[in-house]
Symmetry: C2
Subunit: 515 residues, 2 copies
């Protein structure tokens, strides 16, 4: 058994079931081994940003890592932006990056690069395998590193000869430590804060944004009057009818400051104290008031759910005390010109139960949240690292993870262009993804930002850099060019018809919503 096969067997034994790939010559032995080892699904992406973004979307829904297969330094480079997003989302990912044979590196061939140097800025764990007999153990450690709470990016660099030389067979998995429980004094001191009656916000992120964590936080809120909110962007939020609904910290600095005005205590559960997405002249970076104290109940690496349960008990908050969201659908919009609100209404009205929403709608999507509060229960996935170009791949990966759930991509057009190749993977794999493409033909957010940063009165050149029309992108052609069925909507009636068609389809469908 060669090193590549020992690695594939190690990954499969450790529960890694999917490999998102964009391989090259150095990875051919790994690719060949995938055929000899059952249990690993291979999903090809035609660009590495698709591969890494799909691995992120997959792991968010499966709560376990996928592997990626990337081709040397430049292949890893192409996947870097979405690995940045995965790192910020605390998603477990195991990257396998092929490299030149160990003895070939010194010759500085065209593809030779500092692969470890490229990997470190996005990885919590990086290793280059020394020889074929080390590969399996290295792979097991990579999986363990990825799985370490709350979830990390691990990058294993696999020189070609370590893949083709003889190995000693697969390795067992190192134990992954259970997340530590928080100490009693933290529970006691946060309980005291909550009992104080001062205006208090519980700011949550990570795994506690699932139904169970939300319900307990809602019970604590009901018992104490505290307000529960989520971070600006969250890896996965379970919401809709029957769940405890929370707001999120808004993106615009002034709105965030208004939300937190007068708050005297912020209790962090897996979250960081809230900061502005960007720094702006004359606006603060920190969003909480000067006289507000910040307390940590639990860090992301700790057992956050247990901490919430313990806190509820300490406060004698009844476990079923949360005020849960009632079902409530917005009305389908009457026919008329399509706009962001009518799209939001239609999506809220038609969202299927158990849908997964992959949200990269950016500016166009900020109105969507209220309209879907009372829709059937669903998961909402966002970009946590701010690097646009995650949406299409994330939807792709989520659909691979959950073949029996409908995935809805809410997708800004500018962002979609970074990784549009993901549509082809949706077509090849027959994935059940309906993409609502907000075609405003501009980097619309940037137009606001131009003013926010004080660069007023832009001229033609500047505006040209913020418009992505001239020529307009034809998303129906682009989708069909990659084998994805598509339609265009310019009115509410057309949009509702197209959305119904997408939802009725079992494969990928794209709606160009011209707004």
């Amino acid at each position: 058994m060669n090193g590549a096969e020992s690695l594939v067997r190690t990954l499969v034994n450790a529960g890694v079931e999917v490999c998102f790939t964009n391989p090259g010559t150095s990875e051919m032995h790994f690719v060949a081994a995938l055929d000899r080892v059952p249990g690993m699904r291979c999903v090809l992406g035609l660009f590495e940003g698709v591969v890494t973004g799909a691995a992120d979307g997959y792991a968010r829904m499966k709560d376990k890592p996928a592997s990626t297969l990337l081709h040397l330094g430049p292949g890893l480079g192409n996947g870097l932006a979405n690995l940045h997003n995965a790192r910020k989302a605390q998603t477990p990912v195991v990257n396998i990056v092929g490299d030149h044979a160990t003895y070939h590196v010194e010759h500085d061939a065209p593809l030779t690069a500092d692969v470890e140097g490229i990997a470190w800025p996005v990885s919590a764990w990086v290793r280059t395998s020394r020889d074929a007999r080390s590969v399996a153990a290295d792979g097991a450690e990579a999986v363990a590193a990825a799985w370490t709470r709350p979830g990390q990016v691990a990058t294993l660099i696999l020189p070609a000869d370590t893949a083709w030389e003889d190995s000693d067979g697969p390795a067992g998995m190192p134990a992954i430590p259970e997340p530590p429980r928080v100490a009693e004094d933290r529970i006691k001191s946060v309980a005291a804060v909550l009992r104080s009656g001062e205006p208090t916000v519980i700011l949550m992120a990570g795994r506690v944004l699932r139904a169970d964590g939300l319900a307990i936080s809602g019970a604590i809120a009901a018992a104490t009057g505290a307000r529960v909110i989520g971070q600006m962007s969250n890896a996965r939020l379970e919401r809709g009818a029957g769940r405890f609904t929370i707001d999120r910290v808004p993106y615009p600095v002034d709105q965030a400051l208004a939300m937190l005005e007068g708050v005297k205590n912020i209790v962090l559960v897996g979250a960081k104290a809230p900061v502005a997405f960007f720094g702006y002249p004359d606006k603060p970076s920190r969003l909480w008031p000067q006289d507000c104290a910040v307390h940590t109940l639990a860090e992301p690496r700790e057992d956050m759910l247990h901490a919430l349960e313990w806190l509820a008990e300490e406060l004698s908050a009844p476990r079923d005390g949360a005020l849960l969201q009632s079902p409530a659908l917005p009305p389908l919009p009457a026919d008329g010109p399509l706009d962001i609100d009518s799209i939001a209404c239609a999506v809220g009205a038609l969202l299927p139960e158990n849908a997964i929403v992959a949200d990269e709608a950016i500016g166009s999507g900020r109105g969507l949240h209220p309209y879907t509060l009372g829709s059937p229960p669903h998961d909402w996935l966002q970009i946590c690292g701010g690097a646009i170009g995650l949406g299409v791949p994330m939807a792709t990966g989520a659909a691979v993870a959950c073949p029996h759930r409908k995935v809805i991509g809410l997708q800004a057009d500018g962002s979609a262009m970074y990784t549009l190749q993901g549509l082809w993977t949706q077509a090849r794999e027959g994935l059940d993804v309906t993409t609502v493409l907000f075609a405003n033909r501009a980097y619309a957010s940037l137009k606001h930002e131009l003013f926010n940063v004080g660069a007023r009165n832009p001229g033609r050149k500047a505006l040209d850099m913020l418009e992505i029309g001239r020529p307009d992108l034809d998303w129906v052609s682009l989708a069909r060019g990659m084998g994805v069925e598509a339609g265009r909507a310019t009115s509410n009636a057309e949009f509702i018809r197209e959305l119904r068609a997408g939802l009725a389809s079992e494969g990928p469908y794209l709606i160009e919503a011209v707004i």
Copy 2:
């Protein structure tokens, strides 16, 4: 004048005339400054790989750097693969990478990343501006670093507040040292080698592959019997009728070994001693014979043309002694099924004078060289770093640099998918690029490589990772979706008709050549 404007003025004063951009919030002041400062053309790319690849193509044709404008660590990451290619091509590029305001970095907002860490693996020079008053001088140093022979990637990181705070105005350019001349003893010793009568190869790369350097090398070859060859991949090779024609080191290891068999001396002029692109089991990494001596006439940082001239003089080789290529066109292929050879014939027969060929045809393109030897004089640009996804952007940048020359993209389909967004930039800028898209619907090279690395008998899963059909990409739809006129050819007659249409067009045109 704020820091951003001081930087733009510095760049313009230093001769940087084009900025390929994909900006975000942190770059808004730079964008706004572009409107206040005449002399800098802005070209928007919808993905950063387009931006960096276009900067590479531009500088190869202009012999001076363009600037790029990129958005924080992830934006730089998206541009990394083509910066790797630029680094290996020794192309001058000045990257301006926006970052968070200096005081905002500590808050670890979503887009915060180790920008310098991402930049170093592809850059010879990296600096983060400290404050607005340093920006102009930093920009001047970046241009000087980029321009340092033979050409380098320089990355200036511009925190948002250094762009919006007050500056002291633009900076002057630091002097760029002239390339040093080689010492006489090198000329003498190489002349002795060439006089020895032993089988000798002169291996050239870089600036000496222009008509003047080639003619002198041809004169030396005629006088001494030495053979002149180029590296496997070259940034820019002037060839065609009236030029001195050279072969290149072939990609397949066995062919390269055969070419160099029996050679006793290799004289390097800006080149490295030839090595295999990849390491393979049971094949050598170094391609020259054990008993062959390697001599350096001139390094890339030195005045290579002067060294060649001096050597010719030392050898009393008449300056006009080179055997120049006679005009000779292949016949237009008769109608019949389209294949690689008939495409090569048609391109060779119809190639316009002064065309620029951007070659990312990979396997499909290896047959093209002989058919174009006697075509009218033209430039041939290749990928020097092996990171596919350069072709479309490189053609884009070359067309921006040379608006009065026809650019022909010879483009493999698999590679084109990495940066297909570049077609939109061609449409927006009305660039005169005709792309011949070799639609073989596979990573065809990888199928050979699977066997070359000894991973024989691939199964269905492995083959699935090497085929990019199922579904087939429809390149006519993809091109039209981005505003580029396009047609499909499945026969020789259709291909000739489409190629003539593309050549007659003054804007971008794509031909899906189904092979």
